[in-house]
């Protein structure tokens, strides 16, 4: 009987060791992929950091209308943020490649599904970035235009426009990612409608006189009531 127990133990040990041995190439492949990806990430981020520093990226980002990016960045440097983000993406890609080297159905399925999700993720990122740029541009246009029209609530209008476009961009991005589903649509409707209603109330109540003056001016074709000083510019 003891002989049978010993044999069973030997068999299970052999089985376990052979299974462990069958995993070893996968582990080695994962480690190799990780080491290579870390090296590539390090080299690429060093090259990118130098190029962006030469391009004066930190200052340009602020000028393009994204001063807040510096606040989110490590050491207040958007260059560092970009280079680190790219380095981590490369390491993550290396990890995925390493995982797929395991001869198992689960890791392979995970990697395949993750890669299938990547186009949607990229689209969502592009939509979000483009939405942010457009929001900032429109907000600045509205702010300058409203100040030049002497509207006291210029900033409120500008912030309203910025949030309208941002909410729209975030909703499209989330829908693309398949997050939230119906709740997102409902929340978007409520938020968008709320912002429009708030703006309409603020502008409508605040500019009753301005609108009536403007209509009056259009009807009678008289010069602006705001300023009509006898001043010549040219």
């Amino acid at each position: 009987m003891w002989e049978q127990v010993g044999q069973a133990l030997r068999l299970s040990m052999t089985k376990m060791l052979s299974q462990l041995a069958s995993l070893l190439p996968g582990i080695v492949a994962l480690l190799t992929a990780l080491v290579i990806s870390v090296m590539i990430a390090w080299a690429l981020s060093a090259i990118l950091r130098r190029s962006l520093a030469r391009f004066d990226f930190d200052r340009r980002v602020a000028h393009w209308g994204f001063p807040a990016l510096a606040e989110w960045s490590p050491a207040s440097s958007p260059t560092l943020l970009v280079t680190r983000a790219i380095a981590w993406i490369i390491v993550f890609m290396g990890f995925l490649i390493g995982i797929s080297a395991f001869d198992g159905a689960l890791p392979s399925q995970f990697v395949v599904r993750l890669f299938a999700y990547l186009p949607d993720l990229m689209t969502a990122i592009v939509v979000f970035v483009a939405g942010s740029i457009i929001a900032r541009f429109l907000a600045r246009s509205v702010l300058i235009g409203a100040v030049n029209m002497n509207l006291q609530y210029a900033r409120l209008l500008s912030v309203g426009v910025k949030w309208l476009v941002t909410v729209l961009a975030v909703t499209i991005a989330l829908e693309r990612l398949g997050i939230g589903g119906g709740i997102i649509r409902l929340a978007f409707g409520i938020l968008f409608g709320g912002i429009v209603l708030a703006l309409a109330l603020a502008v409508g109540l605040g500019s009753k006189e301005l609108v009536s003056r403007s209509l009056d001016r259009e009807t009678n074709k008289t010069p602006s009531a705001g300023m009509k000083e006898p001043v010549g510019h040219l």
């Binding site: 600045r140 100040v147 030049n148 002497n150 010069p223 602006s224 300023m227 000083e229 001043v231 040219l234």
Partner: protein, 420 residues
């Protein structure tokens, strides 16, 4: 260049004429009967000149009047007045853009006819008198000048964009003091006209530049002889306050564009010289004694200072922003815009335009509250001033532009390193 803007019959007529001594453009004449009066005026002017001349009159009212077109004489030396009509400006065109396009076509006609002189009256058509044409043409034909810039009789609250930016900026950059560097009424020699046409042909692929803004800098840049002529009172349309930011954007954009294109030239110029001025200045009619109400302008300035700090912060250095914040807290009576601050703001905006720190349209439109602040300060300062005081005030501002030119040059060369 712009020959496609000229109707076919007029083009054929230009070809038949072959050559002329003088081309006279009258922009903005709307009625067809003005064509005949323009031709009559030119005959009157030609009779006063020392030599008999062949002249071409170009109007942009789109009315071809064959009665005004005489037969082309056999002898190409005999005096005659021909007439050419251009299509009126397109409906959506801004006044400045329309003037610039008409200028281009008139110059092209002049270039094709190889004229010796060209005169363009772009102010309202009632300004086009034989006296004005004679004063713009005579220094070119009889005295050998290449550019005759206009000098108008102005009230103290007229020509404020010229007083505050265009004239002193032109003086500081190009070293020539002109009352109206952007005209819009000019007399030019054939040589200068050909040079400007060549410059346009060379830059055809680049961004479109305003011809009106490039005439005086082109003359200064290429060493042409420049003078001014007293034209008297200029009738203008009432100020369109609703579109002030568009006007500023168009005019300052053109001036800054020219500045960027000629940076290598103006950086080496120091000081400025007064140019010969012909004719007697007219005495302006007595002004309305009611002072200008600056409250609305100051309100606009304060609103800008309160809301546009983020935008101005991308263009102006911190010291200027601090000064503006201090100014916005002053009461109406105390409000004075220091010359040095104003000049540096203009220079910083020109630099921002060059560096494209933000969208150029945003940059140019965001200057409106600052300009209104300057007008308010000027109006308060000049409330009781006579014309002599107004002139000396303009002199002081011109000096401030010249004194601060080193600031502009330093920032232009090292925008990042030199940031006070």
């Amino acid at each position: 260049m712009e020959l496609d803007a000229i109707p076919q019959p007029e083009l054929e007529q230009i070809d038949r004429i072959g050559g002329a001594d003088l081309v006279i453009g009258i922009i903005g004449s709307e009625r067809p009967e003005q064509n005949d009066s323009a031709a009559g005026m030119v005959r009157e002017v030609l009779a006063e000149l020392s030599k008999p001349l062949r002249a071409m009159v170009v109007c942009n009212n789109g009315t071809h009047s064959p009665a005004a077109v005489p037969e082309v004489p056999e002898d190409s030396q005999s005096p005659a007045v021909f007439f050419c009509s251009l299509p009126p400006p397109a409906p959506g065109e801004t006044p400045q853009h329309g003037i610039s396009n008409a200028y281009r076509t008139i110059f092209t006609v002049g270039g094709k006819l190889a004229v010796r002189a060209c005169c363009v009256i772009a102010s309202r058509p009632e300004n086009a008198t034989p006296g004005w044409i004679h004063r713009l043409v005579q220094p070119v034909l009889d005295l050998g000048f290449d550019l005759v810039a206009p000098c108008y009789t102005r009230q103290k609250m007229e020509g404020l964009l010229n007083r505050s930016v265009l004239a002193p900026l032109h003086g500081a950059l190009y070293g020539q003091r002109l009352q109206n560097p952007m005209g819009p009424d000019f007399g030019l020699s054939g040589k200068l006209l050909q040079r400007i046409l060549a410059q346009y042909s060379a830059r055809r692929r680049g961004p479109e530049r305003s011809l009106l803004a490039s005439i005086a800098p082109a003359a200064a840049f290429n060493g042409f002889q420049v003078c001014e002529s007293q034209l008297g009172v200029r009738h203008q349309s009432p100020t369109d306050w609703d579109n002030l930011s568009s006007l500023l954007s168009e005019i300052l954009g053109a001036a800054f564009f020219e500045m960027e294109a000629r940076a290598a030239h103006w950086q080496s110029i120091r000081g400025s010289q007064t140019l010969p001025r012909f004719g007697q200045p007219e005495v302006p009619s007595p002004e309305n004694a009611t002072p200008v109400d600056v409250h609305g302008m100051l309100q606009s300035f304060r609103l800008g200072a309160q809301n546009l700090q983020d935008v101005w912060g991308l263009i102006l250095p911190p010291t200027s922003l601090l000064e503006l914040r201090r100014l916005s807290r002053l009461t109406d009576d105390q409000f004075r815009f220091p010359d040095q601050l104003w000049v540096r703001i203009i220079y910083d905006f020109a630099l921002g335009y060059r560096l494209q720190t933000i969208s150029r349209d945003h940059l140019l439109r965001s200057i409106t509250p600052l300009y209104l602040g300057w007008i308010a300060s000027y109006a308060l300062e000049m409330q009781t001033a006579g014309l002599a005081e107004v002139d000396s005030r303009s002199e002081l501002l011109s000096k401030a532009y010249e004194d601060n030119k080193s600031y502009l040059v330093s920032r232009w060369r090292w925008p990042d390193r030199f940031n006070p």
